[in-house]
């Protein structure tokens, strides 16, 4: 592998990871407020379909992204209403919506299969793109990819540096205490579930308009939602760590293409399932790390490393607040 190939590799990692970054950031926001939106896999597909159809019909990419985001938000709204206000199991509602949104996408999107639609054009940033290596990797992408990069910082800043972010985290950690401080945990949870859904919807739009352009059955984004959900755990509910996980995952995905060239006899479908055993091992490792942090017989350097990768779930994650 020579230098330009390596540059190309990293550039495609940044581009390919963009939708996964957005989806895991969205889910991090939702879960930080105490709600699990398990419908990610279906949400991404439905918003990918809606975004593609909207962009195709109106020939406007902006409208495509907007309608994709709105579809993601609408599914999140259903998850929120059912789990927060109707007291149903978050997992049950999310799982049903995963399957239903996917099937709805296949059904409604059927006439738009394999059509040539609009695609997001590349937008190299002048001057910055000239920087060796980093210029190509970071500044020779398209607008939504820049957006995904910026959002990592924005979400981190919002969650940890603003009063609103503190309120968001408080309803995920201790809703009773935030209620005592005059915050309505239910309203706030619903709001941030929808916000998370908007980002997930954008992730879907990014798939059908940029990363894997077009619509079809299968679209190619199948399974990504589950990966994003696992990345939230991998990131220990920290947006920056979750995003790092997304880049690591995209890197392995790109490497999978090379592996495929080395073992041509194995069908490509087998490689497509490779991320999932990896997901299990990662979760196993994270759980082990969480158990070991604080153990006296572990060296301080290991301790530091364990602390770095493990993080605790919001204390009230998945627990309904109030009964009526």
């Amino acid at each position: 592998m020579n230098e330009s190939e390596i540059t190309l590799l990293f550039s495609s990692v940044v581009a390919g990871a963009a939708p996964i970054v957005l989806a895991s950031l969205g889910e991090t926001v939702t879960e930080k407020s105490g709600v699990i939106n398990l419908s990610l896999d279906g949400s991404i597909l439905l918003s990918a379909m809606v975004a593609f159809v909207a962009a195709y019909e109106t020939n406007s990419l902006a409208l495509g992204f907007l309608s994709g985001a709105v579809s993601g938000a609408l599914i999140a709204l259903i998850v929120g209403l059912f789990s927060i206000y109707l007291n149903r199991s978050q997992v049950a509602v999310g799982f049903v919506l995963t399957l239903m949104a996917r099937d709805l996408a296949y059904f409604l999107g059927n006439p738009y299969s394999r059509l040539q639609g609009p695609q997001v054009p590349p937008l190299p940033i002048p001057v910055l793109e000239k920087i060796p290596f980093f210029g190509t990797v970071l500044f020779n992408q398209n607008l939504p990819v820049y957006f995904s990069l910026i959002m990592i910082g924005v979400i981190w800043w919002f969650l940890y540096k603003t009063p609103a972010g503190l309120e968001l985290r408080s309803v995920g950690e201790h809703p009773e205490a935030s209620y005592a401080r005059g915050i309505d945990p239910k309203k706030l949870r619903l709001f941030y579930t929808i916000c998370g859904g908007l980002l997930v919807g954008l992730a879907g739009a990014l798939f059908s308009l940029s990363a894997k352009p077009g619509w079809g059955r299968p679209q190619g984004a199948e399974g990504t939602g589950w990966i994003a959900l696992a990345l939230v755990i991998f990131g220990g509910w920290h947006p920056v760590k979750a995003a790092c996980g997304a880049y690591l995952f995209a890197f392995l995905q790109v490497m999978g293409i090379y592996f495929q060239n080395w073992f041509p006899s194995i069908p490509s479908q087998v490689f497509q399932t490779a991320p999932f055993p990896l997901m299990i091992f990662t979760l196993l490792f994270i759980s082990y790390a969480q158990k070991k942090t604080g153990d006296a017989d572990v060296s301080s350097r290991t301790q530091f490393f364990l602390k770095l990768i493990s993080g605790n779930a919001p204390a009230a994650l998945g627990k309904p607040y109030g009964n009526t």
Binding site: L86, N87, L97, L99, T273, T324
Partner: protein, 357 residues
């Protein structure tokens, strides 16, 4: 209190009617959005599900794996586990059965191997379920992610088998392994292609599940741990052991479903051997409100929807995934109706207690 049979029956019945009407309305809206003629769609689905003897047999052939998986899921739901891995457990049951049947191809006693395919399926499904169970109890990996990951692994494994070691002589293709000789097929009725063995096993599984969950210690223990794992420990119950037991039951039943798919329906291993029946069975059990007898009926309805919607691509050039939309809408609406009824009840309770004061 006027809690007669009728007054308890009517709200339940009303709930079903309300759910059905809402879903019919939602589906019609989806169809209008897709520019499809709703009445025609409903007609084709119904005709495709129950229009002839062949169609009814197809529906029953879908009902068998759905019901078997639903039986297994009742065990895992009872203890509070979300066994999404049921899909992969069915696949591994199919893989192990195929292995047994492939040995039978070169044997002088094929019937023996056909019989052995069933325990093989149970072992395959059971092992895959135990793996998810150990990941949960020992590894601290949430059973949803463990199960889902293992589903994809099982799918990759089947593809690898079909394109690698078990490929058809000459050419490997997505159409699956080579067909088994007819001695290794689960015999089916003439003119009504359904295997009596598969059907009776499914009925037996339903009865067995009902009996175990209701009348045995196993059922009681699963329920106790599911209701309160900490309290159950005080009664000398081991939550981990019981979780693994529930997983074993689920995997076993799903494995049998895989065996029947291989030996009774497709007579070979195909990539889509599980037909998403495992995922669908989760919806079946939810809509049946975790009741075994209701699950049997809901499974029949869902099987009919699945088989009936195969007509859509042929007759109306539409995607058959409409069945999934209807099934999802049914579960969501039922959840909403259930929630509203609970709210109404607690409201009435409060009103009553106010009166007493």
């Amino acid at each position: 209190m006027k809690s007669t049979v009728i007054s308890r029956f009517i709200p339940a019945f009303g709930g079903i009617v309300l759910t059905g009407a809402t879903v019919a309305l939602l589906t019609t809206l989806v169809l209008i959005a897709a520019g499809a003629p709703p009445l025609e769609v409903f007609y084709y689905i119904t005709r495709g599900a129950v229009g002839s003897g062949t169609k009814i047999a197809q529906t029953l052939n879908a009902w068998i794996p759905l019901t078997l998986c639903a039986c297994g899921l009742l065990f895992t739901f009872r203890i509070g586990l979300w066994n999404i891995g049921v899909e992969g457990q069915m696949m591994m049951g199919a893989v192990f059965s195929t292995m047994a049947l492939r040995w039978g191809m070169t044997s002088d006693y094929p019937t023996m191997y056909l019989i052995a395919a069933f325990p093989a399926g149970i072992v395959g499904g059971g092992l895959w379920a135990l793996l998810a169970g150990f990941l949960k109890t020992r590894g601290g990996v949430n059973e949803i992610f463990a199960g889902l990951g293992l589903n994809f692994v099982a799918q990759g494994f089947i593809l690898w088998l079909i394109f690698g070691p078990w490929k058809r002589p000459g050419i490997a293709s997505m159409s699956g392994t080579e067909l088994f000789p007819i001695e290794l097929w689960l015999s089916s009725l003439k003119g009504f292609r359904i295997s009596p063995v598969g059907f009776s096993l499914t009925v037996a599984a339903v009865v067995l599940t009902a009996l175990i969950l209701r009348y045995t210690k196993i059922g009681l223990h699963l329920k106790a741990v599911g209701a309160n794992p900490f309290a159950s420990r005080l009664f000398g119950l081991n939550p981990d052991k019981n979780m693994l037991l529930a997983m074993l039951f689920a995997g076993g039943f799903a494995g049998v479903a895989g065996t029947i798919q291989v030996s009774g329906v497709y007579h070979r291993l195909i990539p889509a051997i599980s037909g998403s029946y495992g995922y669908l069975a989760l919806l079946v059990v939810m809509l049946a409100n975790y009741n075994i007898w209701a699950s049997v009926g809901v499974a029949l309805l869902f099987a009919g929807l699945n088989v009936g919607s195969i007509q859509l691509p042929m007759m109306l050039q539409m995607d058959s995934s409409l069945s999934g939309v209807i099934q999802g809408a049914l579960v969501l609406t039922a959840l909403a109706v259930q929630a509203l009824r609970e709210k109404h009840k607690s409201f009435q309770k409060r009103a009553n207690s106010n009166e007493r004061i």
